[in-house]
Structure formats: structure tokens, C-alpha cells
Symmetry: none
Subunit: 201 residues, 4 copies
Amino acid sequence: MLETETTTRRERRIAARKAQLLEAAAHVFSHKGYEKATTKEIAEVADVSEGTLFNYFATKRELLIGVAKAYADEVAADIASVQGETFEDMLAQLMANRFRRGQERRLFMLFLYESRLNADVHEYYVQEALHRIIAATEQRLTALIDSGVMRPVDPAIAARMMSATIMGFAALFELGVSIGTGSPEKLGADVTDIYLNGLRN
Amino acid sequence: MLETETTTRRERRIAARKAQLLEAAAHVFSHKGYEKATTKEIAEVADVSEGTLFNYFATKRELLIGVAKAYADEVAADIASVQGETFEDMLAQLMANRFRRGQERRLFMLFLYESRLNADVHEYYVQEALHRIIAATEQRLTALIDSGVMRPVDPAIAARMMSATIMGFAALFELGVSIGTGSPEKLGADVTDIYLNGLRN
Amino acid sequence: MLETETTTRRERRIAARKAQLLEAAAHVFSHKGYEKATTKEIAEVADVSEGTLFNYFATKRELLIGVAKAYADEVAADIASVQGETFEDMLAQLMANRFRRGQERRLFMLFLYESRLNADVHEYYVQEALHRIIAATEQRLTALIDSGVMRPVDPAIAARMMSATIMGFAALFELGVSIGTGSPEKLGADVTDIYLNGLRN
Amino acid sequence: MLETETTTRRERRIAARKAQLLEAAAHVFSHKGYEKATTKEIAEVADVSEGTLFNYFATKRELLIGVAKAYADEVAADIASVQGETFEDMLAQLMANRFRRGQERRLFMLFLYESRLNADVHEYYVQEALHRIIAATEQRLTALIDSGVMRPVDPAIAARMMSATIMGFAALFELGVSIGTGSPEKLGADVTDIYLNGLRN
DNA sequence: AATGAATGAGACTTCATTCAT
DNA sequence: TATGAATGAAGTCTCATTCAT
């Protein structure tokens, strides 16, 4: 047996365990909130003993940071994949990608809240995820303005405004506020319409 | 001394105590979050003993509900006072009124988070506050559309979109995301401009 | 009821509780050692709940420091009371006072050990207690040398040597080493004899 | 390969492993104390896995006993080597040999403490080591008295007194009490002087 | 009505020991 | 034989809630 193979197998096992624990933690944190979640329940969901959990993450807080990091990575990969050329495509993808699944929205709410109380979470969620999304949006808007498709509005403000709208919709959804009677597609189309053409007659 | 007078005086004193405790609770909850806040600290801030606190609120959770109720009342009073005739005025007031003070934003974040975890908080915050704001906005938009000032967009969606944008801005602000280099007035003007005239060239 | 009386009664009750807990802690620490002692057992010995214990001492370590402080105070009071004029009296009192009771010896062993591992304990035990004993002994020896009763040996070394001997005897006793077949009085007399007259023929 | 040779080789390997583990344990125990020392750290210092450690010592306590036994053996070998003919030589060697190195003093403190809490440690440390030293000292003193060099004091008490003094000096040193301003040689000479000639003028 | 000491359930975390590989 | 991941008992500490004064 080669050294590298042995090492790799062990590393794979460790990585799998960590992933398994992070998944369980994400589940429990997103449903109960960080403080109400117990390491006991996380261990149960991951189907390991509580002691085992602490072999992989030294503290409960590290578990939260691990979930935040994984979430930020996912978001980063996601925005890199947004390829729509037109504004309609871009906005639709931004609105859909992040918040389609309930778990995504719950994690978003979790980090929205915990970022204010924990510096590490703030770093991963706000710096790594949120700032990237905003920067990417701003770049796209600048290009659209330069190409003459859009009016010369302040792209920094427009990008933040779009992020704010999307985050706000996610929050409304999560709070159980019914949004329109139509399909998600109609919602996307209506929002895009207002963003593009404005409300003025 | 008449019975009723005595009763009234007692009731006033009780109401004052409750208000004093709710104010302290709002302060501590909004800074520490519900779970990390302790009844000990709330009592200290209210300058009463912990025992007294529990004479007025049976559980810590009731305190949270009380704060949510007071917050909803405040919001209700606030939207009743929005009098702006033009769209610009309406949007400006909505953006400014709720979230100008840090305490307001922090409470907003608190209830945004806790509404998902507690049915009573959800009732007061979402039903009493959020739905009212949205309904009022929707009414106003309908009027503006009927009067021909605005295009015939779906007023339900537009109202929710505006609430979402405002909530999202509050969250971004609370997360420390820098929003534009200009003044709050410029931000308000820019947002209004995009909402009114759209982004398309 | 006067303010001062009320306050005093409360303070007395608090002081009594603290003393009760310190006594229990001294008992358990001296028998089990600091690490093996549990807050559960200390609370049981003090006949209060574990929660109550932590209302008076924030951490287990503070409890140890409290015991050390009380012990140092006791030692300080004790050395102040050593009044023997002659060398024989002084040595006899030093040997007897500190270590006659088992609890005293056990605490001595505890702090001897824990002083190396905890700065606060070191401060109270070594600085407050040990250094005082040595300094007082040194002063007395200097006086005896000046008065011509004793030879001009280095009083600093002689004082430390006497302390070392006494501490060593306490340790031997605590370890169950049988010391002489005679009475404690004979031991004291023999040790004094050797210190005074030396071993040389 | 002969059976006996194989067995012997294995036994040698086992003995070497045990020695390696005991050395690591002595190091960690003497620095951290028994309770705060972890089997994990001992294994790391010995450069083996925790599982291996438990293949050689069934419990952590057995490790402590092993260290005590090794320490007692070393002390026994040491006292056998004390060859000084005169009292000065004997006292000097006793004071120097055991406690010159910090590791020695720390182990001394460890066993001084743990002997009271563990019967096996007590057996090895007190019975094997301490009693032998005292017995050897007593023998020597008896010889010196018989030969007329020393006064006819009780040799049992004198031997215990000398052990006590030496142990006490080791403790004072370990506690950071400064002992005289001079060299260790001066200290040894002064102590010997007092022991031989006494303090009386 | 106000107080705050007492309570005890339950949280996070540590670590000696086991055991499958 | 060596490994180290898994275990779970046990420890310290927190805090909402109760209740005698």
C-alpha cells in the first residue's frame, strides 16, 4: 500500500465526516438558529456521538464558521456561473439561483443575523459572498451602461439596490408573505419590467 | 379616595413599569439577540430586580412578544402618518422612517429572524406590521395607477417589491455594506429615479 | 427597619455563605486535590445546590484562590501571635502551630503543589504566607545574633533552613513516615537541641 | 532464529517502548501535574499513537505508577552511590544529587503530592525511595556517632530532620523562594556548618 | 409589590479508553 | 503490532424561573 494512497483514503474519510457534520449543522442551525441549536442534536442528525463531533470541530462556533465558509463557497461558485447576456437573464438568475430552495433561504437568514454578532461569520458571509455578488452585478451593469443599453445611473447604487430587492424578497418569502397570485415566472417578469421600464406612465 | 381612582393609579403604575421593562428588553434584545440576552441584564437596564421583572412578564418569551407588539404598534402609527402625495414623497418616507435609527434597524433584524422561530412574534411582526405596510403601499400605488400617474403594473407585486428593496437596504446597512459614496438624500433620489424611470435607455 | 441594618444582615448572610462554601471547598480540595475535586461534591458538602455555589464564586479556580487567601490570612495571624522569647520557644511554636491539625497539613500540601501551577495561589500562599514567615524568623534570628545569644551565621539562610525543616517535617508526617518513637515534645526538643548545639562532638 | 532470541528481542523492544513512554510521561506529568496531563500529549511526546500507549500501559494511572517506580529505582541507585566518608560530604551529596535538576525537583513535588492520593505511588515513592534514603542516612549517622565524631543524638530523628530539611529546600526552590544571595556552594557550606556546630554562641 | 438567593435542567466541552482496520 | 477515530461519562458553568422574606 502506497503512502499516498493510505493518506488519501484517510483524508477522504476525514473530509467526508466533516462534510457530514457540516450538513447536519447547516440543517439544525438553519431551522433552530445558532443559539437554540445544540451540539447534541447536530451529532444526532449526523448520526455520530457528541464526542465525535468535537474531534472534528473544536467548538460549536467553529461549526458555524464552517457552515458559513461552505455557504460562501457555494455562492461564489454560483455567481461565477451566471452567464445571461441580457439584463432580464441576469436578474432572473440572481433571483432564482440563491433562494429557490428553502434550505438556501434559511441559511441566508441565519447568516444575515449572525453576521452582526460574529466577526468570522461576517468575514465569510459579507466579505466573501455578499460583496462578490454586488461587485459582479456592478460590473455587469457598468457594461450594460457603457454599451448604451442602459441609462447612465450610478452602477454602485443600482447594484446594491438589486441585491437589496432580491434579499428582501427572500426574507418576505421566508416570513410567509404571499407574493403575487401568479407563478414565480410572472414575479420575475414583473420585477424585471419595473426595473427596466420604471413605474412612471 | 375612590376605588376607581386607586385602580386607575395602580394600572398606570403597572403600565409604566411594563413600558420601562419593554424598553430595556428592546435595548438588550436588539444588541445581543434574543437568546444571548439575559433576564438579569434586562432587569439591570430597567433598574429593577429580576424578581420584579417576572412579576410583570411571566416568561422571557413574553417579553419578546411584548417588544414585538410595541414595535408593531409603532410601525402602525408610523404608516398612518405617511402623508406624501407624490411617489417620491412616499418612497422617501418609507425608506427613512423605519430605518433611520440604529435601534430601529436592529429591532427589524431581530424580528426578521425571530419571526421564523416564534409564532407569536410572527403574528405581531408579520401580520400587524409588515402586512399593514405592504397593504398601505399597495393602496397608494393603486391610487397612483388609477390616476394615470403610473403605468398599470401589478400593484401587489410592486408594493412587495418596494418593501423588499427597503428591507434589503436596511439589512445591507446593518451588515456594514457601504452604499454609495454620496449622501442618504442622493441614495433616496437615485432609488426613486430608478423606480420611476427604470434602467432602460 | 434601618437601611444599614438591612444591608448588614444581607452582607452577613452573604459572608456566612461564602465562608460555608470556602470551608467545604477547603475540605474537598485538601482531601482530593484541586483537579479531582468536583464542584458537585463541594456543593454537596456545603449543602447547597451547584448553581448556588456559582452565585458566590464565578469559577472553581476562584474557589481555590479564596481558600488560599483564607489560609494565608490565618497563617499571617498565626505568625503575629508567636511570642516566644527564647529560640526554643520560637522553634517549638513554629513547628507546632501550623501543622498540628491534619487539615492544616493537607492545605499546606495542596498549596505547595498548586502554587507552581497557578499564579494567584502562588501570590497568596508564597508571597503572603511563606515570605512573611521567613521574614519574621529572619528578624528574630538577627535579634538573637545581635544580642550575642547566637553565633553570627547568615540569618537569611538560617531562617530559610528552619522553614525548610519544618515544611519537610510536615510533608514527612503527611506521607505517613513515622518520626521517632517518642512524643511530639521529644521531637521538638531533639530538633531544637540539634539546631542549637549541632551534631559535632 | 532461535525462539529464545526472538523472545528476547521482542522483550527488548517492549522494554524500550515502555522506557520511551515512561520518559514522556515523566516529562508531561512533572510539568502539568497528573490530572492536567493528557494521554494524548504523552503519546505525542513519545512519538507514538494514543492506541499504542494503551497497548503498553492499561491505564493512565499505571503510567504514573511506572514513573514512580522508575524514579524510586533511580533514587535507590543514587543513594547506593553516596560514598562520602565525612558528614560534610554526605550532606552535600544528599542535597545536590536529588534536586540539582529541575526535572528531579518537579518529580519530587509530583510524588510528594500524589503519594497522598494513590496507594501505589505511595508504596513506590515513600516505601522504596524515601524510607531507603532515611535508613541509609540513619546508618551513616549511627556510624559517625559510634566512632565518636558526633554527639549521641537520636539518629532516627536526626536522619528524618536532615531529609526534611533537604526536601524543604527543594520545595522552597521550586516555589521560587530566593535562598541566600550566595552560590549553592555557600548554601551547602552554611547548612553543614549549622548542622555541625549549631546556632548557639 | 419588590427583592434576589436558590434552584436544577441542560449546555458545551474534555479525555481516558476501546476497537475495527 | 500500531493506529487514531469513536465513544460517552463526567465536568464546569449558565440562566430562566421560583419563592421566602
